[in-house]
Every structure is written in structure tokens, then in C-alpha cells.
């Protein structure tokens, strides 16, 4: 919080992307959100108080602060924040917001924004994990846990790595880890279906 508070940068005065302001840009990401516009936020802080991650002190900017930063056009600070990548999608903020803003969906929107612009904070596991997960599903149609382990294990120190290996071994002994990846049967159809939505390369 203190680092963010110490920022001397003021609101972005750079030319607007596509002629729209940052707050409009972010609002446009909330395509399927049924909630109210973030401009209706009264900065009450219910979201931050109710968030188990923010109240545990793990976010560098609280959800309330992120909304304030977006509205004031502090684009750089928003893109640098870890807030949305540390959102676990529990939707407690969404159901409690007195202004009916779908804050959890806003967090999803911000994740997508930084993934597209590849401008997320360095060192976060979240974006790498999500992209690996998506590629895995495009390949097989099903999830396969061992592939996902590669996205975070390299960030761990030795003690954490050992603990993680112990957990994995215990699960394997109980027959709870898959040996081979599963895949769906109509994979060709599935991939053609995906190509309607996003362009896929020739391979993978």
C-alpha cells in the first residue's frame, strides 16, 4: 500500500487509446457483467473489507483503491497492481456491494486486459498459469494437473518444492494423480469449433 501511495505519477494525460478514456476501456471489458457501472462506486470499502485476500494483507492495492485508480485514470498503477491476479473469484464483494457493481467480474476484466496487453506485474504466477491452462484445453479438451505444476514450481524455493513433492507423492499413492492426460473424442470438431472464436496456429 505504501509503495502505491508514494507514487508521484499523476493521472494519465497521454492521448486516449481509440479515443476512449481508461475507465471507459475497462467498463467495455465487462461485457457479460450485469452489474452497475464502476462510476456508481461510492468508495465505501465493503469490497475490501469483505475480501479474504485483501483483508489478509496480500494485495498491494485493495479492490476499493483499484476502482478509485481506474476512475481517476491512473492506468499505469492499475496495470502494475497484483490485486486482480490475487482475486480468487469468491464473489463475496459482488454480492455485498451496495451499489450493485460486479467487482469480481471487474477483476476478471482486468486480468484479460493485462493478458492481452502483456502488461501484467512481473513475477506473478497467475498469468502464466492461465495461459498454460488454456493451451492445455485447446490441445485435449480436458485438464491434466501435472502440466500445470510446471507453471509454478520454478518460482518456489527448495523447502516449498519439497513440501509440494510430498503432497504430490501422497496423492499419487492414493491414486489421485493422473498418469496420462485425458482427451475428448471429437477433438477435430472441437478444434474447428475453437477456430471460429480465436485463430489457432497450424500446430497445437
Amino acid at each position: 500500500m505504501s509503495a502505491a501511495a508514494a507514487e508521484t505519477t499523476t493521472a494519465s494525460t497521454a492521448p486516449l487509446d481509440n479515443g476512449i478514456s481508461f475507465v471507459e476501456e475497462i467498463s467495455n471489458l465487462l461485457y457479460a457483467s450485469k452489474g452497475n457501472a464502476i462510476n456508481t462506486c461510492i468508495q465505501c470499502g465493503t469490497c475490501s473489507a469483505t475480501c479474504p485476500v485483501a483483508s489478509g494483507g496480500f494485495m498491494d492495492n485493495s479492490p476499493r483503491r483499484i476502482i478509485a485508480l481506474i476512475r481517476s485514470g491512473f492506468k499505469e498503477q492499475v496495470l502494475k497492481a497484483n490485486t486482480y491476479w490475487y482475486c480468487a473469484s469468491c464473489y463475496q464483494c459482488t454480492v455485498r456491494c451496495p451499489r450493485g457493481i460486479d467487482i469480481a467480474e471487474l477483476m476478471y476484466g482486468l486480468k484479460r486486459y493485462t493478458v492481452w496487453k502483456t502488461q501484467h506485474q512481473e513475477g506473478l504466477i497467475g498469468p502464466v498459469f492461465s495461459e498454460t491452462f488454456v493451451k492445455m484445453i485447446l490441445r485435449s479438451g480436458r485438464s491434466y494437473e501435472p502440466v500445470l505444476a510446471t507453471t509454478y514450481l520454478f518460482t518456489y524455493g527448495l523447502p516449498e518444492m519439497i513440501q509440494e513433492a510430498q503432497t504430490a507423492t501422497a496423492l499419487m499413492l492414493k491414486g489421485r494423480l493422473p498418469v496420462l492426460p485425458a482427451r475428448i473424442k471429437r477433438l477435430d470438431n472441437f478444434r474447428r469449433m475453437i477456430q471460429h472464436i480465436i485463430p489457432l496456429g497450424d500446430k497445437e
Partner: protein, 299 residues
């Protein structure tokens, strides 16, 4: 006989195979037929919605369209799968342009979304469709003396699905536990997040959140935590050792699926409910509770 298109989801194939086994056993005992959706695909978890919303809806819509083809309501035992498919249906029903776009993609797999199949979580099937009175009537082995922390987690309840549902003070999970003859304890953090996928993306935050949930269950003198989501189960159970290591605690709290609890109450042998594949053994706690029960009753 009530019949549903059953979407097990990726977790239930391996990590939570005991949830799969107990879901099928319990359903059979209660006259519910779960027909596994043929060639189902991953619901996209949370990761897809982090990357591309349209793609995420397409994945869910394929499963929905297959359930429609089978002319059956869709049921998911995982809270994440349930939430994703529930809201995909909701968005597509209210947005004809979105539905048209996605239907053009689904045509590649000879499928079409129309919104005919409703989406349910497995616990809703037992609570609302079968009904608690019916469950209670079929209980042959009431789990007397078992102190249960009924853990809702997040996505069964949130985000809100209808305007007036009770997302702050729900009661159905405790009532289901009581119908099984067990004793639901007041579990303060029953609606607080298990940390979800943060267990991978932010270990420090996740372990701290898991610790809070375990500590709260111990304070409520629960013998077991009961969940309705494979991710909640994995986080609360499989990461207990790591929590103990990081925080110097000594938690040894069994975490089971509500279908396993129901199965035991319905007199199904533990092995057929997948009991034995957990890392913190469930049966000793249950046996102990049942043995001490007469003594408690005598007081």
C-alpha cells in the same frame, strides 16, 4: 426415477474420484439416475475467463448443447463447473447476438445451444428435487454424534442467481447434514473462500486462508469438514500438512464430500464411497463419534 445429464468435470476423473464414486452411489440409492454426458469437455475453470471470455462461453456452451441433445437437465458436482455453466446459459439466453456467434462455432460439432437444459449443482438435486424428507426417510445409519462443519465455500451460492435468494444466511447444507443424523456445528467461516486456484498462483495467501478455515472448524469442535466442491476438498485436506509446516500448527481434520456423508447414512459401505483415498483418514473420526454417542446421550 429422476434423470440428469451428469457432468463430472476434470477433477472428478482422478483427484476427486471418491466424489465421483460417492455421487453415483448416493444418487442410485435415492432414485436419481446420472447419465454421464458423452464426450464432455473442460468447463474452462477460472483460467479461461482470465484469457478470453468468448472462448470460455463456447467451451461451456458445448456441454450445455450436448445436455439439450439428451433432453436432460445438467448436473455438476463441482461448484466451479456449476457456476461457469449456469452463467453461460444465463448470458446466452439473454444475448441473442452472443448465442448466434457461439452457435456458429458449435455447428462444427453438430451442436446447437437453445437454453432448454437447466443447470444444477448436485447438492441442489438432493436438497430441492429429491427433498430432505425423502433423504431422511432413506437413512438407515444415522450418523449420531458426528459434529460436522458444513462448508459451503463460494460458487454454489455466489454470485447471486436470483434476486431474492439467501446468499448470506443459507441453511440447506446444515439441514442436509441433520437429515443424515449428524450434528451441524455453527461454523463461522462456512461461506469464506478456500483460496481456490490461489493455492497454485499465490501459495502464501492460500495457505493462510486454509489455516483460518481449519482453525475455525477446530474452534467449533467439528470432527469433520464436509464440502461440495473438489477444489475446496483438495485445498482444505491435501494442503493441511503444508499449513502445519508453515504455521507450526497440528491440524488433523478430515475433509469429506457431502455425498460420502450421505452415503454412510444411507448404509452404503465406505469403500464404495471412495473412503480410504483421503490423506486425513475419515473413518476413525466417524467411528469415534458413533462410539461416544451413547455416552453423550446418557448425560
Amino acid at each position: 426415477m429422476r434423470t440428469y445429464a451428469y457432468f463430472p468435470g476434470c477433477s472428478l476423473e482422478k483427484m476427486a474420484h471418491s466424489y465421483h464414486a460417492s455421487a453415483l452411489e448416493t444418487s442410485r440409492a435415492l432414485g436419481v439416475e446420472l447419465q454421464e454426458l458423452e464426450d464432455w469437455n473442460c468447463c474452462g475453470a477460472t483460467a479461461y475467463f482470465h484469457v478470453d471470455e468468448l472462448l470460455a462461453y463456447t467451451l461451456c456452451a458445448r456441454n450445455l448443447a450436448m445436455a439439450e441433445k439428451a433432453k436432460l437437465p445438467l448436473v455438476a458436482p463441482c461448484s466451479g463447473c456449476y457456476k461457469n455453466m449456469y452463467f453461460t446459459r444465463d448470458h446466452l439466453q439473454h444475448d441473442a447476438d452472443l448465442a448466434e456467434h457461439i452457435n456458429a462455432a458449435l455447428a462444427e460439432d453438430n451442436l446447437k445451444f437453445s437454453g432448454d437444459s437447466t443447470v444444477h449443482h448436485l447438492i441442489e438435486v438432493f436438497v430441492n428435487d429429491v427433498g430432505l424428507a425423502e433423504v431422511k426417510a432413506k437413512v438407515t445409519n444415522p450418523l449420531k454424534g458426528l459434529r460436522v462443519a458444513a462448508y459451503y465455500g463460494c460458487q454454489i451460492l455466489r454470485p447471486r442467481k436470483h434476486a431474492k435468494e439467501n446468499v448470506e444466511q443459507p441453511k440447506f447444507f446444515e439441514e442436509l447434514v441433520a437429515a443424515c443424523g449428524a450434528e451441524p456445528v455453527p461454523y463461522l467461516l462456512r461461506l469464506t473462500c478456500c483460496s481456490g486456484a490461489l493455492i497454485i498462483t499465490n501459495r502464501e495467501a492460500a495457505l493462510s486462508m486454509v489455516r483460518n478455515l481449519l482453525e475455525c472448524a477446530v474452534r467449533a469442535r467439528a470432527t469433520v469438514i464436509v464440502t461440495a466442491c473438489p477444489l475446496c476438498q483438495v485445498n482444505l485436506e491435501c494442503y493441511q500438512k503444508q499449513v502445519n509446516k508453515e504455521f507450526g500448527t497440528e491440524f488433523n481434520m478430515p475433509v469429506m464430500y457431502f455425498t460420502q456423508l450421505m452415503g454412510l447414512a444411507l448404509g452404503i459401505p465406505p469403500k464404495r464411497l471412495g473412503i480410504g483415498s483421503e490423506l486425513v483418514a475419515v473413518m476413525p473420526a466417524i467411528k469415534e463419534a458413533q462410539e461416544t454417542e451413547p455416552a453423550l446421550a446418557a448425560k
